[in-house]
Symmetry: D3
Subunit: 338 residues, 6 copies
C-alpha cells in the first residue's frame, strides 16, 4: 500500500525575518524552500510513498538548491524542468501575541509562471503514478500555469489516476492575475476525487449563501452542494482553527463523504513554532490514509495529528515518519522521549 503520487505546482523561496522580528529589523533572513503541492509531496515521501515533483525552476544556483532540498526529503526531481527566469519568493515576518504573521509576495513572472504549458509532457510525467495532487494556487499564478494544470488533470483522467485538489483560495494572487476565479476553480474541482475546501470556498465556487445557516450546518450544506455539483467527488475535507493568540490555537478537522460526516478531536496548540504548511500536512496525512485504505475516521484523525504536528516544526513541510504521527493522534505522551 505504497502510493505513487505526482505533485504539480510552483516552488517558492521563503525569506523570513529571524525569530519574531519584523522584516529586516536585523540584516538576516532565513531561507527555506516550499510550495503547497511540494509540501504535500515531502510529507508523503516521509510516509513512505513514491513522489515525483513536477515544476519549473530557474536554471541557476537557487533553482538547483531548491531541487536538492526536495531530493533531501526523498521527493523525485526528474520531473523538474530548468528554464531562464526567476524564482518566485515571498518575505515573511512571523507574528506573535496579537500581531499576525505577514507575507509579502514577490512571485510574479517567475520561471514557473511563464512556462509554456506545452513544455510538460504529461504522459511521461504521470507514468506509473496513482494520484495527482494540485492546488488552487497554480491556476492563480498565471494563465499558462492554469493551462498546464488543466492538461495535467486531463492526462491524469485518461491514465486513470485519482486526483486531489486543494482550493487554497488566495485573493491577492487572483486579483493580480485577473480572470474569473470561481469559474476556473470550479473547472478543477469537477475533475477531482478528493477536495480540500471549506464552506467559504464552496460559497465562492458555487455562489452559495451559507452565512444564513447556523455555524454547525454550514460545512454539511456546503459538502452536499459540492457533491451535487461534482459527480466524481468522493471526499471533502477541511480544517478549523480558532485563535486564543497568534501562537495559541485550537485545531480540528472535518471530513465529508457522500454518505457520512466526520469530525476529529480538537488539538490544543500552544507555543506554535511555524503554522505555514499545516494545511499541506493535513492533505498529506489524508492522502496517506486514503492510499492505505483507512476508514474516514481513522484517516481524518491521522491527518489532523499530522497538521497539528506541523505547527511544531520550522519550515513548510512535515518530515516525520508514520510512527511519530500515529503517536500524536491521542493526547498524552508529551514528556521527553529518552
Amino acid at each position: 500500500m505504497r502510493g505513487h503520487v505526482v505533485v504539480f505546482g510552483e516552488l517558492l523561496l521563503r525569506l523570513a525575518a529571524p525569530g519574531h522580528e519584523l522584516l529586516l529589523q536585523s540584516p538576516s533572513l532565513t531561507a527555506l524552500f516550499g510550495g503547497a503541492e511540494a509540501n504535500v509531496g515531502v510529507g508523503l515521501a516521509h510516509l513512505g510513498h513514491t513522489v515525483r515533483a513536477v515544476s519549473t525552476l530557474p536554471d541557476n544556483a537557487i533553482g538547483r538548491a531548491c531541487a536538492g532540498e526536495l531530493r533531501r526529503h526523498g521527493v523525485g526531481t526528474d520531473g523538474i524542468r530548468y528554464a531562464d527566469g526567476r524564482m518566485g519568493l515571498y518575505f515573511l515576518s512571523a507574528g506573535a501575541v496579537t500581531r499576525p504573521s505577514d507575507v509579502i509576495y514577490d512571485r510574479a513572472r517567475s520561471a514557473f509562471a511563464e512556462t509554456d504549458p506545452a513544455a510538460y509532457d504529461w504522459q511521461a510525467l504521470l507514468a506509473g503514478a496513482d494520484w495527482l495532487h494540485i492546488c488552487g494556487i497554480t491556476p492563480a499564478v498565471s494563465p499558462q500555469a492554469e493551462t498546464a494544470a488543466r492538461a495535467a488533470l486531463q492526462a491524469a483522467h485518461a491514465l486513470g489516476l485519482k486526483i486531489s485538489f486543494d482550493c487554497n483560495y488566495r485573493q491577492k494572487l487572483w486579483t493580480a492575475r485577473g480572470g474569473n476565479a470561481p469559474a476556473i476553480l470550479r473547472g478543477f474541482i469537477e475533475q477531482c476525487d478528493l477536495l480540500f475546501a471549506n464552506e467559504r470556498d464552496a460559497a465562492l465556487l458555487l455562489d452559495l449563501d451559507v452565512d444564513k445557516l447556523e455555524e454547525a450546518a454550514r460545512f454539511p450544506a456546503a459538502a452536499r452542494a459540492l457533491f451535487d455539483a461534482c459527480p466524481r467527488l468522493q471526499t471533502i475535507a477541511t480544517t478549523v482553527r480558532s485563535h486564543h493568540g497568534v501562537d495559541q490555537q485550537d485545531f480540528y478537522g472535518k471530513l465529508a463523504t457522500r454518505h457520512s460526516l466526520h469530525q476529529s478531536r480538537t488539538h490544543a496548540l500552544a507555543g506554535i513554532v511555524d503554522r505555514i504548511g499545516s494545511g499541506d500536512a493535513y492533505a498529506a496525512g489524508l492522502l496517506h490514509g486514503l492510499i492505505r485504505g483507512w476508514e474516514p475516521d481513522r484517516a481524518l484523525s491521522f491527518a489532523v495529528a499530522a497538521a497539528a504536528l506541523k505547527h511544531s516544526i520550522p519550515g513548510d513541510a512535515l518530515p516525520l515518519p508514520e510512527a511519530d504521527i500515529l503517536a500524536a493522534q491521542d493526547a498524552g505522551g508529551l514528556d521527553v522521549r529518552r
Copy 2:
C-alpha cells in the same frame, strides 16, 4: 493632524543575553538602543508625526550608531548633542516561565547625565513643535538632567506647547541619585497636560493612602487627587497587567479626564516576545489619539492595542504604521495575512 513632538531624555544601549539565556551564559549579547522618551518618539514617527529627539550622546562610534538608529525610524536627530563621556547602558536577561526578566543598570555618569543644563537651547530646540514629552527617569538620572528637564518645561510652557509626562518611577535610580523624588516629580506633573501615572505613583507623589480603598476605587480616587493638585492636567492614563506567567499576561488600560473614566478591553498576551517599551508604546498611541483629536475611548483603545502589539516585537520601540494598530484593536484577525 500631523503633530510635531519633541522628546527629551537619555538614550541607552540595551545589552541582552540571547533568547532566554542568563547573562553571559554564552559569549554573545544583542545590542539595541532605546530610551523611554525616544521610544515614544519612534512610535510617533511611524505614526506619521514629526519628531525631534533632544539628548546628549557620547562623541564616538556608539553615540553615532544610536543617533543613526533614531534616524532609521524617522526621528530627527538635529537636536542631539555629542559630548565626551560614556553611553548609559543596561544588561538584560529576559525572563521566562517563573523567572522574571532582570536588569543590571550601568548608566551612572553618562554623557547625558553629566551634561550642563545650559547646553540645551530650548528656544531653538522646541521651535515649531506642538508637544513636549518627558518622563520621570530624566530627573532621576542626575541633578543636571533634572534642571535641564525643568528648563525644557518652562520653555515649552512659554512657547505654548502641550506637555506630556510619564512618571516611570524607578526606585533604584532615585536611591542612587538621592534627592526628594516625590517633591521633584510633583514639580513636573504640575506642568503637564497629559500624565501617565497609576495609583501607586499618585500615592507616592501626593502622599495619598489608596490601599484602604477597594481595588476598583483606587485609580478614580488617585485621578481625582491628581486633577485637584494639578490644575493644568487634562488627562491621566495608565495600564494594568496581570501575570499568568512571565510571558503570559492580561493587559488593559485606564484613562481619566476631568469628567470621565474609561477602561479598555483586556488583551490576552500569550508568548510575549519583549515586554520592554510597552508603556512607551502606550504613550505614543495615546499621544497619537489626542493629536488626531479622537475621543477618549477611541484614543485609549488605540493606545492599548499599540502597547499590546509592542509585546510581539523585539526591541524597545513599536515601529508599526497606524493601520496595523487599528487592525489589532479588536480581537480576531490573527491568522497569517497573505
Copy 3:
C-alpha cells in the same frame, strides 16, 4: 550550614538542534555539558555549598572543556580522572506544541562506562564530605560503573556521610546493559537516607502493584513500602507534572518522611525553555533544604521552586543563587526587575 557534597556519575555532551528544529534540519548543534549528578552539584555550588565532582572524562579537548564547565559553576574537579576513550553524548531535538522532545543516546562504551572500579580511591575522594549523591543512571551505564557506585556507597557509609539517591530509571539504558535492574537498584536504595522516587519506581523496585489504588493513595502507599523495605531511609520525594502541551505544564512536588506527607503548591509553567535537568534542580533544592535543616514543607517548597525555575533556563543546570529561588516560591513578582 554549608554542606560538602560529593557527586558521582557520568558527564555527557548534549548536542541539540537549535530552537525547535528537528535534528540536523540545519547544520548546527548547540553543545552543552551535563549529567544527572553533576547537575545536582552545579545547583548546590550556586547555593553556596562545597561540591566535588567525581567522574572519568576522556583525556582530550572535549573532556577538558567539560571539566572547565563544572569549574565555571564552582564545582571542584580535582576528583575527575582523565582516561583514554570517548565522551558519552546524546542528541536532542527539543519538542514543541504536540511533538515531544526526543533523545538519541550515543553514550555506550564511554571512558566513564569502561573505567575500572578500582581506579577510584573513595577514601580520598570522600574526605571531608557530608553527603554523597548518586543516581540510578550510573549502575545502568555499565557493570563497572555499578561496581564503582557500590564502592562509593560503602565508603560513604563507613565515613559517616549521608547518602542521597535518585532512581532516574531509564529503560533504554537497562535494556542495552542487561542485568536485573530492580535488584540492582534496590541494593542502592537500601543504603540511602534520601530517595528520589515515585510510585512507578517503587512498583518496579519492590514489585508492588499500586495501579489498583486510587491516584491519591499511590504515593503514600509506595512511600510506606519503601520505608518498610529500607530502614535507613528517612525522606522520599518526587515531582508530578501534567502536560497541557509540550511547553505548557503544571508542576508540583510530593515528599514523605516516616511520619508525614507533604505536597507543594502547583506551579503553572507556560512557555517552557528547557525541561531537562528539572529533576536534578529539584534534588539540589531539596538537598539544600535538608542541609540547611529546614522543615519538610519549607524544603519541599524551595525544591519545587528550584525545579520550576529550571524550566526557564537553557542547559541542564540551575545556576541561580538562593535568593532567586526563594523569590520564586510564591506566585507573583513576575514583572521585569529594574
Copy 4:
C-alpha cells in the same frame, strides 16, 4: 566646503550566503541594502555632506526598511517615492581562494525600473544642490530609467549643478534590456564634469582601439579621446586592481585632468572582507576631494584610501569619517588603536 549632492539610481537588496558558503548551502542569507549611487551618497554623508537620495521603492516593509537604512547613514530620503511593485534584489555568494564571487541578479521589473519618468519633479528634487551623481547602471535598468536619468541631467544642467557619472558598464543588464549601450552612455558622459571610466569603457563608448597600445599608454590615450569628445568633461578617474587571489589584491587609482595625469600609491589588500562598493567609495572619496577643492593628487590619494578601506567593511558602503580615511592614506598605523 560642505557640498549638497543628489544621487539618483536604483536601490537593491543584497541577499548573500553567510561567510564563504555557496548560495543556500545553509538556510540563511544576510540581507543588506545598497545601490551604486546610494553607496556614493552614504559615503558622502559620513564625510559631512548633505545628500539627498532620489529613487523609487516598493510601498511595503522592504522598501521602507531600505529608506530607513539610508536615513541611518544620514542620507535624506524625502526624494524617495513609494510605488506598487517589487524591490530589485540580487543573490551573492562571496568567493574565496580561487573561486570568484558570484552574483545572480533578480532585479527585472522592479518598482524603480517601471517608474514613469514623469514621476520625478527634478526642479524640486535638485533644489539647493551643487552636484548630481548618476551611474551607467540606471540607463541599463530600463528605458524608463534612462529617460528619467536624462531628464535629471538636463535639469541639473539648467540649474547649474556639477555632474558626475560612473560608467559602471554591466554587460548582463544591457543584454537583457537591449538598446545601443555605447550611444546611450555617450549621451550621458557628454553632460558630465567628472567621469569614472577606464580604457575599456572609453574603447566601448568611443569605438577606440587601445589594445594596440602599451599598457601604460592606454589610459592617457583614452582620457585624451574622452576629453576631445566631451568638452564639458574636466576630470576622468579610474581604479586598477590585480589579483593574487580572490581576497588578496593590489589596488591603485589613476586620474586625468585636461592638463595632467596622476597615479596613486598601490595599496596591498590582504584578507579582503567585502569588495562590493569599493568603486562607489572611490567615487565618494574623489567627490569629497573635489568639493573640498583639493589638488588632484590629494583628492586621488584620498579616494584610493577610501576605496581600499571599503574592502575591510561588510556591506556596500563606506560609513567612515574623513579622519579615518586620511589616516589610511599612508602605509603604517595598522596596529590596534587603544
Copy 5:
C-alpha cells in the same frame, strides 16, 4: 560520456567549532556530513555522473539526515543500509595562522564498522556501474569493513568495472585497529586501475626507501615501483602542498602513467576556507577526466583546479558544475562575476 560510479565507505558526522574557535570555546558546533568516498561521489554527481553510495548508517534521525544530504547532492542512496548502532563522528577545530587544524575521532564501533560483510549484495549494488571507488580508510575502520571492501573489489573485477583506490593512510586508525596495514593495503592496490598515492605511501606499501633520492626523483621512482608491483595499475596521481601558513599554501598535482609523467601548474591558495576534502575533490576531478577520456595533462589540470577550488568552500565536498572548475584551471578571472 556520463559515468556510473559506485562509492563504498563510511559516512561521518563532522562536528566543528565555529570559525577559528577551539573546540567548545563557545557552546556551538557546526554539523556536516562527509566521508572520503562519499565526497568523491558528491563531486562526481555535480559533474553529471550517476553515483550510488553504498554504506551502512544508523537507523535513526542522524543516519537518515546523512542519507538526505547525499540525495540533496544528487547521489543515489538506494545502496545504503540502516542498522542499529551509532554514527561515526569526529570533532574538528579549524586551525589558523600557526595553529594546525585538529581532529578528535569518535568513530569506533560505528554501525558501518560493525556491519557483517555479508550484508552487502555486491552483484546488485554494482549492477550497471562502470567504476568502483574505495579508499584506504575503509579497511582501516574494522576487519569487517576490510572484508566487505575486498568483496566489493572482487565483484567489481568480475563485473568488469574499473577500480580506483585512494590510499588515505591514517596512522591513528590503523594503530587502533591493529593488523598489517601495508600488506592489507597492498592487497587493495593490486586490484585497481587508478591509484591515489604519493611516495610516502609507496614507501610504506612496498617497503621502499625513497628518502635517499632527490626530492624530484622520488615520485617517479615510487610510481615505477608501483607499476611494477601492480600489473593492473594504469594511473597514479597525487597532490603536493607547501605551507606558508595554515591558511596560505601552494598546491599542485602530479600524475604518472606507465609511459609518462605529468605535473600541473601551482595554485596559490590564500585565505583557505576549508581544506578538508580537497584530496577527494582531486579524485573526483581526475575520475571525471578519465571518464570523459581526456588526455592526462588535461585531466590532471582539471583535478588540481577542482582540489584548489575545494579550499574555498565550507564542508567536505565540492558541489560545483564542470564549467566552474574549467574556469578555475587558469590563473585570472578572480573578480566578482556580475
Copy 6:
C-alpha cells in the same frame, strides 16, 4: 617545577562587533572577559601552574560570570573580591585589510578602580606563591589601584616572591587619570626581576633618547640603561611586529639579560584571527620558561611561539597546553592533525 603565580589587575568585559563589522553595524556583540594580568594567569594555568587571580569585581551577574570564566581556565578565584560598582568594559571593532582595530574604553570608575587599597590583605593573598605578576595598566587605572599595586609589590618583596612587570604603556589611560606616568612606572620597574618593555618604554621611563641610534642598537642600549637603573632586574623582554596588512604580520621576540642578548626566529602570521592578548601570551610563555629553569634562548623561543599562536585564537587568552606550543616553535607541521 610547577610555579605558584599571583596575578593582580583589572578584569574587563570585551564587547566586540561580530566578524569584521564596524561597531553596531548589526545589533550583536560578542562578549568575552579578559585583562592583561588575568590573560597571563590563564596562559600559565593551562601550562600547569597554580594561579591565583586577585582583583575586585562587581557584585552582580556580570562579575560572577567573569570569575566563572577564570575558573573555567583553572585560575583560582578565591582572591577575588566582590563590591558594589560597575564592570570595566571596552568596545572593539576588529580591523581588516587597511583598517586598524579600534577600541573604545568604558572602564572609568569601575569597582576595581574605586577599590580602597586597604581592602586587599596581601599577606594572605600572596601566601604560598613564588611569583607576582602585575602590569602598567593597573597604576594607570586609578590612584587607588596604583597604591594597591605598590602594596602588593612590597608584600611580595617581603615574602621573597619574584616579580614580573609588563609596562603596557597606555597613553589614553594615563591622560584620563593624570599623574606623572614615567615616575610612577619607574617606581614599579625598580622592584621587579623580569620586565616586559621595549626601547620606547625605556625612553619614556628613563628619559632616554634612543632615536639617534640605529634601529638594531636601540634595544641593547635601552636594556643596558634599564639594568643600570634597576639593580634587581635580571631579564628584559619584548616583541617586535611589522605589518604587511592588519591581519598579516611578521613577529619575533627579543630578550636581554645582564650578560647576553637573544633574538627569536620570525613567525609569519597570515590570516590573524585575534591579536589582542598576544603580549600576555608572550609573558605567560616567558614566565613558564623561567619557572621551568630554561635557558634564555629556549624560553624566548617558547614565549614567541606562544604569542604567535595567540593570534590564531579568538579571545584574550591562550588556553593551550605546553605540547601545542612546543610543536609551534619550529616552522612546519601546519597540515591537519588527524
